[in-house]
Symmetry: C2
Subunit: 368 residues, 2 copies
């Protein structure tokens, strides 16, 4: 039977669901997840002020959102000390990333990232027919020198860098990031993903510079702010680079509840600080659990810890599967060298109790 042909780019893409959520794992395994510590969510949840604002605004959900995201941009502008014209709001960083690739990577053009870095970037590059170029990590960090070499060699229109990094949790200091930015050609756009910026120590995020047309920084309400499910991220950059999003974004795409809850979240910075402190405690707890099992925890500036399982990728994958069978949901890097690790998100203390309880057995199972 004849059918409407997909475009050549779409034809070349797989029609599988590339991102498997914990709900899908539960459906597949038939095992209830008791410790949801795989998606770098914040189990501490959003601020009570956010919950109250969401509840209050629920009856207003009949209204479309403001397509200009005006109030949220003004609130963020005040919070960050930049003008609202330097900010774009999107359906999570994933949504903004889609737009960045679409704006800068023409079919066949190159997009540069690190081998094993955030896979959604790769998904979008493939989705728009770009050519993905990768540079290996160096000592469990994205390699600034390696990325810069590749930029000089290939002049890609777009480079992706996540600092602090996902999936390893490692980071570069602000000065090193700034030098990297200075060394980029003016015609290469850097997508600097700071999704985990709130949990990083002081001195990791470079000061905001909204004059450079070749750097867009992305941040989110999904991580420390505890709002992964509401889909709200933002981009910070030079005004005309920010304006470019208006060419292609879904103008009514950011939902009204996201606008409301993100604004409420910004008003409760003391709650954010308490979460950041609990995340730091959770990272230490995960490191202790690792040590108690003779495993090394990689130092992390994020809300998760990569734990080196001490053998190869197949072993770490077996550990992940054994944990899943015991009701513990974690994820893991898949690229060579990084793949020796599993990635454990900071859960509630009682979830980390379950991790502590189940990890020894899972390590044994994985050897069997």
């Amino acid at each position: 039977m004849l059918r409407p042909p997909l475009t050549p780019i779409a034809t070349a893409l797989p029609d599988t669901v590339p991102f498997v959520g914990p709900e899908a794992i539960e459906r597949q395994n038939g095992i209830k997840i008791r410790a949801r510590v795989g998606a770098n969510e914040s189990p501490f949840g959003p601020s009570p002020k956010v919950v109250a604002a969401m509840r209050e605004s629920a009856p207003n959900t009949w209204k479309y959102c403001d397509p200009e995201n005006f109030d949220l941009r003004v609130a963020l502008a005040r919070h960050l000390g930049v003008g609202p014209e330097k900010l774009a709001i999107g359906e999570g960083i994933d949504g903004l990333m889609n737009l960045m690739v679409r704006l800068y990577v023409a079919p066949g053009a190159t997009a540069l990232t690190s081998l094993g870095a955030y896979p959604t970037f790769n998904y979008h590059v493939a989705g728009f027919g770009g050519r993905l170029l990768t540079v290996p990590y160096e000592g469990d960090r994205e390699s600034l020198a390696g990325l810069l070499d590749a930029v000089r060699r290939e002049s890609p229109p777009l480079v992706y860098l996540c600092n602090p990094d996902n999936p390893m949790g490692t980071w570069w200091d602000a000065g090193e990031i700034s030098r990297f930015i200075d060394a980029l050609p003016e015609t290469t756009m850097l997508l600097l993903d700071e999704a985990y910026g709130e949990t990083a120590p002081t001195g990791v995020l470079p000061p905001l510079d909204v004059c450079r047309p070749n750097v867009i920084r992305t941040r989110t309400f999904s991580k420390a702010y505890g709002l992964a499910g509401i889909r709200c991220g933002y981009a910070i950059g030079e005004a005309s680079a920010i304006r470019a999003f208006d060419r292609v974004r879904n103008h009514f795409g950011v939902n009204r509840m996201a606008q409301v809850s993100a604004q409420a979240a910004l008003t409760d910075q003391s709650y954010l600080r308490s979460v950041v402190a609990r995340v730091a405690e959770g990272r230490e707890r995960i490191a202790r659990i690792a040590r108690n099992n003779n495993l090394a925890a990689i130092a992390s500036a994020t809300n998760f810890v990569a734990v080196d399982c001490g053998r190869d990728g197949a072993y770490a994958l077996a550990v992940l599967k054994a944990l899943a069978a015991r009701g513990v949901f974690v994820r893991k890097p898949m690229a060579p060298i990084l793949d020796r690790c599993i990635r454990i998100s900071v859960g509630l203390p009682e979830e980390l109790d379950i991790v502590a309880e189940e990890l020894p057995g899972a390590l044994r199972d994985a050897l069997a």
Copy 2:
């Protein structure tokens, strides 16, 4: 100063905000909107059950949504009597429309619509470098014969048809739509937008046929279900056409609150029926207001009524502006012939009171 170049397609696009929301109008005019009857929202709001479900789930918003939208697809499948593999969920129909254009319209390829139909389709076609082909309306309806002629002449990979129609509110009966579908070549995909399906009389929506690979129908929780701000639409079609969305969609794009509230909305069909009845009353009220001002109301199967202002487009635009100055937010078609109308959404009775009060003055102002 050098800067990163946008792709050729993005370079050709304007970086204006093409969709002006009522909030932006208020900010520009400094006049508070007293009757929000321009965006085809449902001021009756969502069901109280939906509001309760949203409030209950607010603290869970720290979790990412299920990327497979499994529970919502199962609930919709039961409601519609089709398998869940025949359904895709998106960030409103706008989001799904973006994906449809991206999947089927390669740069330079043709997408067919009616001149003056839903502008977001045109926005996406331009956004992906497609060539927009339009056919004029015929007697205030999208012209099925005209669209079919254009399909035969130009073999576009994608055709857009909205039934009942926006912005005119007119419709074709199910039999006529079915004959149109039968006459389409198998290699032309029809995006049949049924955003206003719930408010249409029986006999307007053809029975669901999820075997044809060249028809995708879209529906939404934004209109009769009163959830425009939550961003949740869905596509119904043949399984492999539906699976194609998985190639390009933002898998975590549909927010968790949308999943929760859409499921709750489906459980309260008696509330939906009460809204549909109130919408019908509102349409009659708008028609009476039009008649009282010696204007013709165009018969509508939607939650709005196009009112023929009896002169040219410039006059109708002046009426719209005069209404805005009086705190009444309406929109209007902009294409020739249709542009003689303003489009009034069914508001609350007290909002339609304001319309009744302000329209005579606005008509006078527009003449001045």
